[in-house]
């Protein structure tokens, strides 16, 4: 499957991916309207430590711990390999957050679990973080499992 990868060598720590992600998943057609004055809850996070920057988002693991630990069956790994969340089923226990070894699951103010779904549900095709990265640090590539 195609996955989002980050080349640390080229990640500048500009955090644009976070804003592009939050906007892409906002369902609003204007970034200002979507994000101005509101808490921004992206599904990708840039980890910064001095001179090292690295954008982290769901790895869509072969054997995801989050789906195993999900008590309501909201998190599933589909046939296409994408780990998705069904908000109808999610009860907000946040077990998945504790289980994810990469810290890639987050919540918004409504305690709804948010995670990277490779921009499949928002109908973009190419993930917004990849499209908006100014230095080609975030790529969307096919790799052998």
């Amino acid at each position: 499957m195609k996955r989002v990868f980050v080349h640390e060598e080229w990640c500048l720590g500009c955090h644009l991916c976070e804003y592009n992600c939050a906007f892409a998943n906002s369902g609003v057609n204007d970034m200002v309207k979507a994000l101005k004055g509101k808490p921004v809850t992206p599904r990708i996070h840039v980890e910064d430590d001095g001179k090292i920057h690295y954008a982290v988002s769901c790895r869509h693991c072969e054997n995801p711990l989050c789906t195993k630990g999900c008590i309501s069956g909201a998190l599933t790994k589909g046939d296409d390999g994408v780990v998705t969340i069904d908000h109808e089923k999610c009860v907000g226990c946040l077990s998945c957050m504790l289980l994810c070894p990469y810290g890639c699951i987050t919540t918004d103010e409504k305690d709804v679990v948010l995670k990277c779904e490779l921009c499949v549900k928002n109908g973009r095709g190419t993930p917004a973080c990849v499209e908006g990265c100014p230095n080609r640090a975030i790529v969307y590539e096919e790799v052998e499992a």
């Binding site: 500048l12 720590g13 644009l16 001179k51």
Partner: protein
């Protein structure tokens, strides 16, 4: 000093409705212009630090930013322009020589813009480059004076070493030091893809780039940084740099702060030491001395590589070029006064040298008059901005053009002209690893290849409309050019007629 006489050059206009406080501008500005104030939830800016590099403008996801010229005005004075006064304040503050970068920005005439190109109509057919083959390949080097035969009557076909270019454009010298590792890598890989050459400048050749040797011109300048046998043998040609258009007659100075481990190794100088290139080559005080260096370099490389001599366009350029054409050099590169630099004294950049258009026309004429034009190929640089500049240069007599500013623009340079600060926000003219990584050489290469591919298409289109299907047939073909708004002397030097004639 309590009173600050300076005024910021730019104003930062932030559309507060659009600004979402993502702070990308703050993170991306190496000059620390932008700052977030959590107390008021506002973005603040220190306009004194802004150099108008446009990095924040380009990265702002909501297009909330504009950088404008500061409209604050000193009392109008036709003699004492605002900038002239501010430069005096600056020097009164610091006591230092003013430094600038890139090419001369002053409003001197741009002759390219006063020359128009001919087209075929009715009596001679134009050629459609999409239907018929068009040749943009050129060979640079010494050409035989006449045909000779051996004792068996067979033609002598042995030529002195030549450079083969797929299009009459090369990337001109920019040293590793003045520009970053990633900028060099972009140029080297793009030159390889395009079938042309890039130039190391005087900073030596990084060990990673020896693999691009056949697309590399290695430079030997007055500082002789990084010059040794393997270096000379690595390149396809060797260039002796006598001068540079942006700062003719003076040397260079790479501050010790930029001489990190990699640059120290490449330049073969101690880490942290200033890299000083003397104004003259201390072993060259005449054409005879130059000839010695040309032949030393040829001897060192087995007469397999053409030797280029690069000079700045100055007042007696035709006589100088005539001397160089007799020195054994294979190619003369002339750099006009609008050529760029990583740092030069402002007064020198803005006042020394002559336009490349005039220098080229007079050199080509002089060499033809003296019957030695075939001794050398002519390469010109110093602000070749587009395919039409290339066409005009070739028609004035150039074999090929050197481009550098255009190449840096393709890599993201916004001509803010503060390379000397070493804080290039685009990752080009800097050695700060945090900034260097901003130029992904994969993207850089792609943009350079795109630009020159586009130029090549345009060159073919323009050749076609003149009814010319080979760039060789355009060289020195001044009948294809007409001047507009030029006086008789200018037309005479350019060797072209006025439009309408």
């Amino acid at each position: 000093m309590a009173v600050n006489y300076m005024i910021p050059s730019f104003e930062i206009e932030r559309n507060d409705y659009r600004c979402i406080r993502c702070r990308v501008c703050e993170r991306q500005c190496a000059n620390s212009v932008h700052r977030y104030d959590p107390d008021g939830d506002v973005m603040l800016s220190d306009e004194f630090k802004c150099v108008d590099c446009q990095r924040c403008v380009c990265l702002c996801p909501t297009h909330a930013l504009k950088i404008r010229k500061n409209e604050n005005e000193l009392r109008e004075n036709a003699n004492w322009k605002q900038n002239t006064i501010l430069e005096i304040y600056k020097q009164a503050n610091t006591g230092g020589v003013l430094l600038s970068s890139m090419g001369n920005p002053e409003p001197f005439p741009v002759y390219w813009d006063k020359i128009l190109i001919n087209a075929s109509q009715v009596t001679n057919p134009s050629i459609d480059p999409l239907r018929e083959p068009m040749e943009t390949r050129v060979f640079l080097g010494k050409k035989p004076h006449d045909m000779t035969r051996d004792k068996n009557g067979k033609l002598n076909t042995e030529l002195p070493p030549q450079l083969e270019l797929e299009l009459p454009i090369m990337f001109s010298a920019m040293s590793y030091g003045s520009i970053s590792y990633n900028a060099h890598k972009s140029l080297a890989t793009a030159a390889e893809t395009l079938g042309t050459l890039y130039n190391t400048g005087e900073g030596g050749l990084h060990e990673d780039f020896y693999q691009y040797g056949k697309n590399t011109i290695v430079q030997v300048a007055s500082g002789r940084f990084g010059v040794y046998k393997d270096y000379l043998e690595a390149g396809a040609a060797i260039e002796i740099k006598m001068g540079q258009g942006a700062k003719p007659g003076i040397g260079g100075h790479l501050p010790g702060a930029k001489v990190g481990a990699d640059i120290s190794k490449t330049r073969m100088i101690p880490e942290g030491s200033d890299a000083i290139s003397p104004a003259p080559h201390h072993d060259i005080y005449s054409i005879e001395d130059l000839r010695q260096l040309v032949y030393s370099l040829k001897e060192a490389t087995g007469y397999k590589k053409p030797v280029i001599v690069k000079v700045a366009a100055v007042h007696n350029i035709a006589a100088i070029a005539s001397g160089i054409a007799r020195s054994g050099a294979d190619i003369i590169a002339i750099d006009g006064f609008r050529g760029g630099t990583g740092a030069a004294p402002t007064r020198i950049r803005d006042n020394v040298g002559i336009p490349i258009e005039l220098a080229l026309a007079s050199v080509d004429k002089r060499l033809r008059d003296e019957g030695i034009r075939q001794n050398v190929s002519l390469v010109v640089g110093g602000s070749i901005r587009s395919a039409s500049d290339v066409i005009k240069a070739v028609a004035l007599g150039a074999d090929a053009c050197y481009i550098a500013t255009s190449a840096l623009l393709a890599l993201g340079c916004h001509l803010c002209r503060t390379c000397q600060s070493g804080k290039c926000n685009w990752g080009i003219a800097t050695q700060d690893p945090e900034l260097v990584k901003r130029l992904n050489p994969e993207a850089g290469k792609e943009r350079l290849v795109n630009m020159l591919t586009a130029w090549k298409h345009e060159i073919k289109e323009m050749m076609g409309l003149m009814g010319i299907n080979s760039i060789e047939a355009l060289r020195g073909n001044r009948m294809m050019l007409r001047g507009v708004g030029l006086n008789e002397k200018e037309l005479e030097i350019l060797g072209i007629s006025h439009a309408g004639e």
